[in-house]
Symmetry: C2
Subunit: 415 residues, 2 copies
Amino acid sequence: MSEVRGKAALAKAAAQIMNRLTTNEKNEALLALADALVEHRQSIIAANAIDIDRGRANGTSESLLDRLKLTPDRIQGIAEGLRQVAELPDPVGETLETFERPNGLRIEKISVPLGVIGMIYEARPNVTVDAAGLCLKTGNAVVLRGGSAALESNRRIVEVLREALAGTALPADALQLVEDPSRASVDEMLKLNGLLDVVIPRGGASLIRNVVDNATVPVIETGAGICHTFVDESAAYDMAADIAFNAKVQRPSVCNSMETLLVHEAFASQHLRTLADRFLAADVELRGCERTRAILPEASLASDGDFATEYNDYIMNIRIVDDLEQALRHIADFGTMHSECIVTENAVNAASFLQRVDAAAVYHNASTRFTDGFEFGYGAEIGISTQKLHARGPMGLPALTSTKFRVHGNGQVRG
Amino acid sequence: MSEVRGKAALAKAAAQIMNRLTTNEKNEALLALADALVEHRQSIIAANAIDIDRGRANGTSESLLDRLKLTPDRIQGIAEGLRQVAELPDPVGETLETFERPNGLRIEKISVPLGVIGMIYEARPNVTVDAAGLCLKTGNAVVLRGGSAALESNRRIVEVLREALAGTALPADALQLVEDPSRASVDEMLKLNGLLDVVIPRGGASLIRNVVDNATVPVIETGAGICHTFVDESAAYDMAADIAFNAKVQRPSVCNSMETLLVHEAFASQHLRTLADRFLAADVELRGCERTRAILPEASLASDGDFATEYNDYIMNIRIVDDLEQALRHIADFGTMHSECIVTENAVNAASFLQRVDAAAVYHNASTRFTDGFEFGYGAEIGISTQKLHARGPMGLPALTSTKFRVHGNGQVRG
C-alpha cells in the first residue's frame, strides 16, 4: 500500500473514534498540543533551519523564507492559536432540526464531523498546526500534505503533535502527514474516494486549479480573488479613497485585496486625478481603460487579460464606467465571486449592488479586506470558500461538519 | 460555440434575472407551467409515442417502456407536482445570521440561489418537469441533460414549458435542454466551470460514477445505496420481520431498500428459519454467510462481492454476527453511508448504533425505505445526497440554495 493510501486508511479508522469524543476531550487535547509545541520548540526550530538552509541554497527569495521561518515567538503564537480554537464552541452534536411525522417517526437532524479531511497546501508551516487544530476540534481526522519547502518543519511538528495526542483521549492516527514530496502523492490523494470525505486546497492559483481539475473526492475550492471596488457617482471622496486604498495597499498579496477599481465617470472627472496620485505615491502601478488614460496619461492600457488577472501585487486596474449597470456587468464578466464593494451615498444603488452581485461577500462602504474568519468573528478559519456548495466565504468551524438524520420509530414500515 | 456551452451561457445570463424574482412571481410561473403541460398533453403524448416506438423497436423491456410512457393521467400527476412545489416555502432570501462587529460592520448571511444547476439523468421524462420546477422555485437556472430514450418527450415538454415561461416574469432561458444525445455532451457539461455552479446526477451507478470521476464542476452525488438492517438479540420478532421485509420487498429497485440483513446470532438461532421462509415465499433469493447456511441450507454462499453489491432486486444477503460491534464493523466495511437500521429493544444498543453508524439516515425500529423527501415531509426532493458536503440525505428546496454575506459599513478599513 502506498504511503498516502496507508495513512488515509489509518485516518479513516481513527475518524470512527473521533466521532464519539466529548467537547472536553477535544479541548483538552488541543491544549496539550499547544503545550507540546512550546515545550519542543527548539527541536522544531532546528528542523525548520534545515528547510530554511535548503531554501536559501535553492535560491528562494528572502520574503518567502521569512514566511517559512519559525521562531520561539512565532511558535508561541501558533500555540496560542490552538488555545483559542479550544475556546470556540463545538459545532458537532447540535440538533439542527427535529420534527415528527404523521406516522409517528421522530426525525432529528444532527451535526456530525465530515470524517476525514485532506488538506493540500503550500509553504507556511503554521498552516500545519492551524489545520490540525480546526479539524480535530470538529471531530475530524485529517491527512495533511504540505509543501516540500517546509517538509522538515512539518515532519517535526506532526511528530510532536502525534506524541502529544498519545497522552489524550484522541487517537494519534487522526493526524497524518504525507511526507512524499512528489506530485504523485497529491494526485493520489485527489482520488481517494471512500477514504477522504473532502479535500481542501490552500495556496496559489495553480495548486487550486490542479485540485479542482483532478479531484474525484469532493472539493471545497478556496482562494482566488479578483475583487473590485466600485466608486459610485455619489461616493464621498474621503471614504472612497480610504476604502479603495485599503483594499489595494494594506496587504496586496491576499485574496480579498482589490485588483480593479471601477469609477463612475462623474466621480472620475472630478476626483480620479487626486485619487490616483495617492496610489502612485504608494508605488502602485496603474493600468487603465482608454477613458482612464485620458485623465491619467501615465497609466498603461489595461487589456481584458489584465482585468482577468489576480495580481496579488502593487498593480491595479482602473476602469471608468457610465453607471452602476456597467459596473455590475464588469464584475459579472471578470469577478471571481469572492468579495465586491460599492462605495456610494445612494441607498438604492447600494441595495441593488448588494442584491445583484453574485459573490461570497458584498460590501457597502467598507473595504473588501474584511472577508476573513477572524474579522467576521468566527475566531479561526480553514480558508475562504469561493464556491457555492457547502460553504461560501470565510469558513469557520461549522464548515467542517456535515449532518445526519436520526430516525426513531416503533415499527413503522412504508406502505 | 457548442450546443452545451451556448445553452449554459444563456442559462447563466438568465440566472442573473432569476436571482431577483419575488416568491409570487416564481409561484405564478410554476402554476402557468402546470397549466401548459395539461393544455398541451396531446402533443406531449404524441412526442412520447415516438420514444416508445423507437424503444420497442430497439428491444427495450416493457417494464422500462412503462416507466417512459406518458398518459393524460400521468401528465396530470406531473402538473400536480409543480403545483405542490408552488405551495412550498421559498428558501431564498432568508436572513440566516445577522451580527455586528466591534468596528460597526453589520453582517448578514442571506440564502441565495445556487445559480445554474446542471442535471444529468436517465429515462423518465417526469424528472424533466420535477427538476425544472424545483430549480426554478429556488431561483436557479437549469440545464437539463436527460437520457436519449426520452429525447422526443423531453424536447416537447421543454418546448411547452419555455413557451409558458415567456408569459411569466421568469426568463425562458432559465430552462435549457441539451438535445445532443451523445456522451460528448455530458462530458462537456462536467467541465463547464464558470457557467454551471453544480452538477447533480440522477440515475444508475455508472451514470453517477462517470459524473463523479470526470466532473470539475462541483457535484452533489446521489443514489447508490447498500443499506443494512441489523436485527439485534433483543429485537421483537414481529417488528423485526416486518421492518426487514418492508426494507427488502416493498420496492427493491430503489436506493433505500435493504441489500443485507445482519442478524444477531441469538436471534438467528431462534428465528432466522421462520424469517427466511417469509422472504422465500416472496421469491427473494437468499445468499448467506457460512453460519447462515448452517440454518438455511438453501441459501447460496455470499461472497464479499455480494456484500458490496447493490442488487436493486429480489436478492438479499444474510450475515449472522456475534454482536453489535460486528454489525457496526460490517456496515463500516460495506455500507455506502445511505440508510442503516437497527431493530432492538435495547436502548443502549440503539443509541450506540445511531451515534456510531456514519450514514445519511440511521434508523431505530423503522424501515430504511423512509429515506425520501416526501416521507420526511420536505414536499419534494431533487435527489438523495450520499456525500457529506453541502447536503446529506433527502434534499429538499434548501439544498438548492447557497449563501452570501452582505456587509454594511460606513467607511471601515482594515488596520
